[in-house]
Symmetry: C2
Subunit: 457 residues, 2 copies
C-alpha cells in the first residue's frame, strides 16, 4: 500500500509538471569533442592467454528468451567452436556448437574468427553459466534468461544509443551497469569505426572488447544505425552492414522476418520491435510487409502490453542536427504505430536527449493543409537517446522556441532506464553523465496504451 501511495503521489506530481511548457534544460556538458579512447586503453585490453576468446556478447536467441545467442572472437585460429553451459558454474554439463566465420575489409583488414552459438531450450528467469575457449584460455560468464512473457511481469531495460568508445562512452556504460537493468535496448550506432580512416575495423574489435563487461552477462538487443552501414565503395566495400551483420546476429527468423535488421522480441511484459532506418521501407518490400503482419497478427497486447519500437533515426526531434531526417520513414509508418497504440518509440542518431509528449501528425492528405504534430493520447512518446557519448560530440543546437510537443530536451551525454512495473505503469528515468557521476535529470511515469489508454502520459 505504501508503495502504491508513493506511485500515486509521483503520478500527481508528474501530472502537475506536464501541464507546464516543455523544458529546455539549461544544463550543458562540455561541448568538446573527445577522440576515441586509444587502442591500447585498458578497457580495450585483449584477455590473457593463447588465442583467448574475446569480444564476448550475448543477445536473445528466440522470440521469448528461451534461447540465447553467444558470440565471441578468437584472434589467431578458430579454436573451439563450442559453448559449454549449465546451471552450476562448476558443472557446465551442456554444450552448443556454433558457427565460425571471418570477413575481410577494404583489402587490408582481416577480422578475427567470429563465433556464434545459440543455446536453446533454456528456462525463463534462470541463471546459466557458460564458458568459451579451451585449454588454458577458457573464459567463463553467466546470464539470467528473461522472465516468461506475461502482462504483469516486470522488466527493467537500459536504453543506450550512439555509444562509441570515448571516455564519455565509458561513463555511460559504467552508469548503466550501476543502474542494474535486465537487458539493453541498443538503439544503433555501436563502434563508430567508420569515423576512422578506411572505416578501421579494428575499432569494431576494440568496441566489442570495451562493452563485453556488460553484454557478456545480459542480452543487448540490437537496432542498426547509420554507423553500421559501412558503405565504402572507395575501398571496394559496397554491401551495406557487412561488419555489423557478421558480428551481431539477431533472432529475426523467430520473429518471422527474413532479414536481420528488422525483427522483434518479447521480454517480460514488453513486445519490442526493431526497425531499420537504412533498409527499404517502401510498400510491398520485406520490412513493410513484415511490420504490417507483425502489428496485425503477432503483437498480443493482452499478453505483452508494452509495445516499444526502436528505430535509429528519430521521427520527432527538435534539434537542428539531423532535423527531419526521419521524416521519410515517419510518413510511411507513423499511422500504423498510432493505430497500434505503440507505447514508446526509441531513437538515437541525434547526439542529445529529448522526450516528447504523446503526439501524432497523421491527417495530412496533401490537399487538406493539415500537417502539424498534435497531442494524441493514442500516440507514442518519442524518446531520443542518441547521447551515449561517441566521438562526434553533442548536438547542442535546439530549435527555438521549443515546439509544444517537446517535453524535455538537453544536450548532455547519458542513458535511460525503463522500469516496467506491471501492465499499467512503467517508470522511466534519464541519467545524465555529470562530472563522472550519474544524475537523474528527467523522469516520467508512463501508463500503458492498452490497459490505460485514456491516461495522457
Amino acid at each position: 500500500m505504501a508503495r502504491m501511495l508513493a506511485v500515486l503521489l509521483l503520478l500527481a506530481a508528474h501530472a502537475a509538471a506536464s501541464a507546464s511548457a516543455g523544458v529546455t534544460s539549461p544544463y550543458r556538458r562540455s561541448l568538446l569533442m573527445l577522440p576515441d579512447m586509444p587502442l591500447d586503453a585498458d578497457v580495450f585490453r585483449a584477455p590473457e592467454g593463447d588465442n583467448a576468446p574475446e569480444q564476448v556478447h550475448i543477445t536473445q536467441g528466440d522470440l521469448t528468451g528461451r534461447a540465447m545467442t553467444i558470440s565471441w572472437a578468437t584472434p589467431k585460429h578458430p579454436g573451439s567452436n563450442v559453448v559449454r553451459y549449465g546451471l552450476d558454474a562448476d558443472n557446465l554439463n551442456l554444450t552448443a556448437e556454433g558457427t565460425v566465420r571471418r570477413y575481410t575489409w577494404g583489402g587490408t583488414y582481416q577480422s578475427p574468427y567470429i563465433h556464434h552459438a545459440t543455446l536453446t531450450g533454456l528456462d525463463h528467469s534462470t541463471v546459466y553459466h557458460y564458458a568459451v575457449g579451451h585449454g588454458y584460455t577458457v573464459r567463463s560468464f553467466s546470464f539470467k534468461t528473461p522472465p516468461k512473457p506475461g502482462p504483469d511481469v516486470p522488466i527493467k531495460f537500459g536504453l543506450i544509443g550512439d555509444l562509441g568508445q570515448t571516455f564519455h562512452s565509458n561513463d555511460t556504460l559504467s552508469h548503466y551497469e550501476a543502474n542494474g537493468g535486465d537487458a539493453v535496448l541498443f538503439i544503433g550506432d555501436l563502434s563508430y569505426a567508420d569515423d576512422h580512416p578506411g572505416h578501421d575495423n579494428r575499432r569494431w574489435d576494440s568496441w566489442a572488447r570495451f562493452v563485453e563487461r556488460s553484454v557478456a552477462y545480459q542480452p543487448w538487443i540490437w537496432t542498426a544505425g547509420n554507423h553500421e552501414i559501412d558503405y565504402a565503395p572507395e575501398i571496394g566495400e559496397t554491401v551495406p552492414f557487412k561488419p555489423f551483420t557478421n558480428r551481431y546476429p539477431t533472432p529475426f527468423r523467430a520473429a518471422n522476418s527474413t532479414e536481420p535488421l528488422w525483427y522483434s522480441v518479447r521480454m517480460g511484459s514488453a513486445h519490442v520491435i526493431m526497425l531499420s532506418s537504412y533498409s527499404s521501407y517502401g510498400k510491398y518490400m520485406p520490412q513493410w510487409t513484415w511490420l504490417q503482419d507483425e502489428l496485425a497478427t503477432r503483437v498480443d497486447r493482452a499478453a505483452t502490453p508494452w509495445l516499444i519500437v526502436c528505430v535509429h533515426t528519430p521521427w520527432y526531434n527538435t534539434n537542428d542536427y539531423h532535423y527531419m531526417e526521419g521524416e521519410t520513414m515517419r510518413v510511411q509508418f507513423e499511422r500504423w504505430l498510432v493505430d497500434a497504440k505503440v507505447d514508446l518509440v526509441l531513437s538515437g542518431h541525434v547526439h542529445s536527449y529529448e522526450r516528447t509528449h504523446r503526439i501524432s501528425n497523421v491527417v495530412f492528405d496533401i490537399d487538406n493543409g493539415k500537417a502539424a504534430p498534435q497531442i494524441n493520447a493514442s500516440a507514442p512518446v518519442y524518446v531520443n537517446i542518441g547521447d551515449g557519448g561517441n566521438t562526434e560530440g553533442l548536438a547542442n543546437s535546439f530549435r527555438s522556441p521549443q515546439p509544444e510537443y517537446s517535453a524535455f530536451r538537453e544536450a548532455s551525454y547519458g542513458h535511460a532506464t525503463l522500469d516496467i512495473k506491471n501492465r499499467t505503469h512503467a517508470y522511466y528515468e534519464w541519467h545524465r553523465n555529470q562530472d563522472g557521476v550519474k544524475v537523474v535529470a528527467d523522469k516520467a511515469w508512463f501508463t500503458n496504451r492498452y490497459y490505460l489508454p485514456t491516461h495522457t502520459n
Copy 2:
C-alpha cells in the same frame, strides 16, 4: 522558318490552354479487367528451331550509347554464348562473348539459359546488325545506336509503364511501334508474373517473347517497379528482384552506381536518371549517396540539358489508387530535384494517365504548417504513365475536386512520346488506346529548365 512559326503557334495555343483549370477527361475505356493473353497466344510463340534463341532484348550498355547489352534466352541448353555483329547484315565480322546463367523459382520453376553480352566500342547514330544462336537457329536483328550526347541533339522517347501482357498491352505496344521512337523509357512493372499463382515465372518468359518485336531493335531503359520485387517468402523466395535482375541488366556501373536498380544514361540531349522506389533511400544509403553525387557532379545541363527522372511510384497523383504511396520518397528527394531543376519526373504504378503543372511542396518544416503543392517554375512536371494495359485494370477513381496542380488526367490505357527537338523545346504527346487505334488525347510543349528556366511550361 515555317517550322519555327508552327512551333510558336503551338506554344501560344498551349499558353492559352494552361491558364484554364485542370482537365479530368470524360473519356473512359471499359473498366473490365482483362486476363493476360493465354500462354499459347501467337504473340508469345517461341521461335522455330532447336534451342532457338528467344526473348531477345537490348538496353544501353554504357553511359552514352557506345555500348549495347544484348540479352536472350535459350530453352534447352546453353548453346552459343556469342553475339555476332557488324555494320553489314551480310558480314557480321565482330563478336562479343556473353555470360550465361539460370535461376530457380519457388522450388518448381527453372529458368531458361539467360545470356547477356555487351557490344562495346560502337559508333553513335549507327545501325548495327547482330545475330544470336548457331547452326540452323540463328536469329538476326538490328538496332541503331543513340546519337552522341549534345545540347541540341534530338531524340524521341517512348514512355511506357505497367505494361503487362493483356490485349490492351498488345495495343499499347503496337501503338508505340507505330509512333516510332528511338528508345523506350520503361517506368516499371513489366510482366506481372507475380499476379499468377506462385509468381508463375513462365509469365516472365512469355512477356519477354511478347515485347521482343520492339526491344530487340531498340534499347529499352528499365526502371524497377513493385511487380519486379517478387518477394515470396511463402515459397522460399526472400531475395527481392531475383527474376528481374537475372533477366534485365542495366548499365549501372557506367553511371558510378553500385546496384542495378538506380543509375543513369545519357541519350542525345537527355540525361535520364532511374531511381528505385523499392530500395532504401535513407540518408547515407547507396541510392541516396549516388543520387546526391549524380546531381552534384555528373549531370551536365550545358551538354545534356534535358534532365528526366524515372521512378515507379508517383510522388504526385490525384487518383485514390495508391494515393500518397510515393510520399515517403517525395519527402526524401523532392527538394533535390527542384534544386536541380529537373524537367520531368515519369512514374507509373497508378493505372491511369495524369500530367501535372510544375509544382513543388518543399517548404514544410513540421512546425510552420506549410505543406501544400505550389506552382513552381523550377519544379518538374510529373507524368503518370502507368496505363500500359496490364491485367489489374484501370484506376478510375480520381479525387474530387481535381487539385489545381493536376493539368490533365484520364483513366484509359495508352503510352506517351517525348520528342526532344533541341535545347529549349520538347513536344510531348499522350496516346490513348481507343477502340484499337491510337488517339492523341493530351499534348504539351515542354521548355527546358536549364535553357529556358523562366517559361512556365
